[in-house]
């Protein structure tokens, strides 16, 4: 058998790879200045993909969610935010929320920010849950924070080094991997590029998965278990059949 293709070693000395950030396709409309500032001012390679679960992925383990500060002022948005963050936590080892000030509409004065108890409550809950919170006054500042976060991650050898595009039949494999609850978009890319076939992924041990898809041991074990999860038709919720 041929030797398995390996991912490039993290942080090859000498030439640091250019920073790479994945952006969700919805950000083209909701955060156009974030993406253009990342590209034009910071020279970051931005790959727009359909991430679905989060707004940005800045490393192999860190997801970033961009939130409007005003959204958290009343408690109503809390459960929606919680659902999204919980989903992120199942896919990523680290989660960061950037709270961005709402942009004043043309002709409208910038609204004053009146802090509320639910707002302080959400901040406290984020901190208790180990979610990092950063504050931004505009989209350009958000871009700067994203760049800084990915620089920190690069120093810790967690930068995104895997090719961000997938060709041909591997696109089906990508969709297959993305449907696994504990697999993030970066992990799915790494599985596509780090293994010769889907069968090879399924047959790998947790340590092989961890090494070749650059996963934490815990996430690798979760994936390994998922592929062997004994399906019981009786346990399938009726609405999905």
């Amino acid at each position: 058998p041929r030797p398995a293709p390996r991912l490039p070693p993290p942080g090859s000395p000498g030439k640091p790879a250019p920073l790479c950030i994945l952006a969700d396709s919805r950000e083209i409309s909701s955060g156009p200045d974030v993406i253009s500032a990342l590209k034009a001012l910071h020279g970051v390679k931005v790959q727009v993909c359909s991430l679905g679960s989060c707004d940005y992925i800045v490393s192999s383990r860190l997801a970033v969610e961009r939130k409007c500060q005003a959204e958290l002022l009343n408690g109503a948005q809390r459960s929606k935010a919680a659902q999204r963050v919980q989903q992120l936590r199942s896919k990523f080892d680290r989660v960061c929320v950037i709270l961005e000030k709402e942009r004043a509409r043309a002709g409208e004065a910038q609204k004053g920010f009146h802090r509320t108890k639910p707002y302080d409550g959400v901040l406290s809950a984020f901190i208790r849950a180990g979610i990092r919170v950063l504050f931004s006054s505009c989209q350009e500042e958000t871009a700067e924070l994203l760049k800084e976060l990915s620089l920190v991650e690069q120093r810790k050898n967690a930068a995104i080094l895997v090719p961000t595009e997938v060709q041909g039949p591997r696109r089906d494999a990508l969709q297959f991997y993305l449907s696994v609850p504990c697999v993030s978009y970066v992990t799915a890319l790494a599985l596509c590029h780090g293994f010769r076939s889907v069968k090879e992924v399924a047959d790998s041990s947790p340590s092989e998965l961890a090494a070749r898809a650059r996963l934490s041991q815990q996430k690798a074990e979760e994936l390994h278990r998922y592929l062997r999860y004994g399906f019981d038709k009786q346990m399938l919720p009726e609405r999905v059949t």
Binding site: Q86, K117, L123, I127, L134, F176, P181, V198, R228, K233
Partner: protein
């Protein structure tokens, strides 16, 4: 700043739930008045560079507008804290019209370089409200935190069913047949072409087999 010789007082980590131990220098301040009544505030001297101790090994360092305008003294204070203590440090910073311009640089230093938590407030009154929420969150059961995963036994049937439907040529009906026959995804991957043919017919069996085994 009081007592620069002992950066962080030992023993101040045992704060009862719902209490705050505050540095004596805050006596009579707007923060102290704001907190009192909502949570129990005990003022003590000898806390060094820490302003407030919360329970759960968390403490607060407060940076005022004046600290920011005065220059880099606050940075030295935070670095000393980091070097002297393993407590979780939350930095509350006054972000006012006057100090707004300093905020991005402060955030970069505190949150990204030191890895501490940074929370901006407009004034001491807001800081008091925030501290009350932080204390109340600490006093709550972790399970009530909406952002923490409730790690319990979780049924994965719906997800597994979805995953199998990502195989080209496989919809709901064939996904169910495959899972009932082979039991899990790993077994479907390892099924022979003949075994697959018996469940889903020749054409789709070939598609499935190719999907799992093709190398490019």
């Amino acid at each position: 700043m009081a007592n620069e010789t002992t950066p962080v007082r030992a023993g101040a980590v045992n704060v009862p739930l719902g209490h705050v131990i505050g540095n004596e220098k805050w006596k009579g301040s707007q923060i102290a008045q704001g907190i009192q009544g909502k949570v129990k505030l005990i003022l003590e001297d000898g806390l060094g560079i820490v302003d407030f101790h919360l329970s759960n090994r968390t403490c607060i360092l407060y940076i005022s507008e004046a600290d920011l305008v005065a220059g880099n003294g606050f940075k030295r204070r935070l670095v000393r804290f980091r070097n002297a203590s393993s407590l979780q440090g939350i930095v509350i910073v006054e972000k006012t019209q006057l100090s707004d311009q300093y905020f991005p640089a402060v955030q970069k230093f505190v949150a990204l370089e030191l890895g501490m938590t940074l929370l901006p407030v407009a004034n001491q009154g807001e800081a008091a409200q925030l501290i009350i929420q932080l204390v109340q969150e600490q006093a709550k059961d972790r399970a009530s935190n909406p952002f923490l995963n409730q790690k319990g036994p979780r049924l994965l049937e719906a997800s597994v069913f979805q995953t199998v439907q990502q195989i080209p040529g496989v919809g709901k009906t064939k996904a169910l047949l495959l899972l009932e026959q082979f039991g899990n995804i790993h077994q479907i991957c390892n099924a022979t072409l003949q075994e697959l043919e018996q469940v889903v017919g020749r054409a789709v069996a070939q598609q499935i087999h190719t999907f799992f085994t093709q190398t490019k």
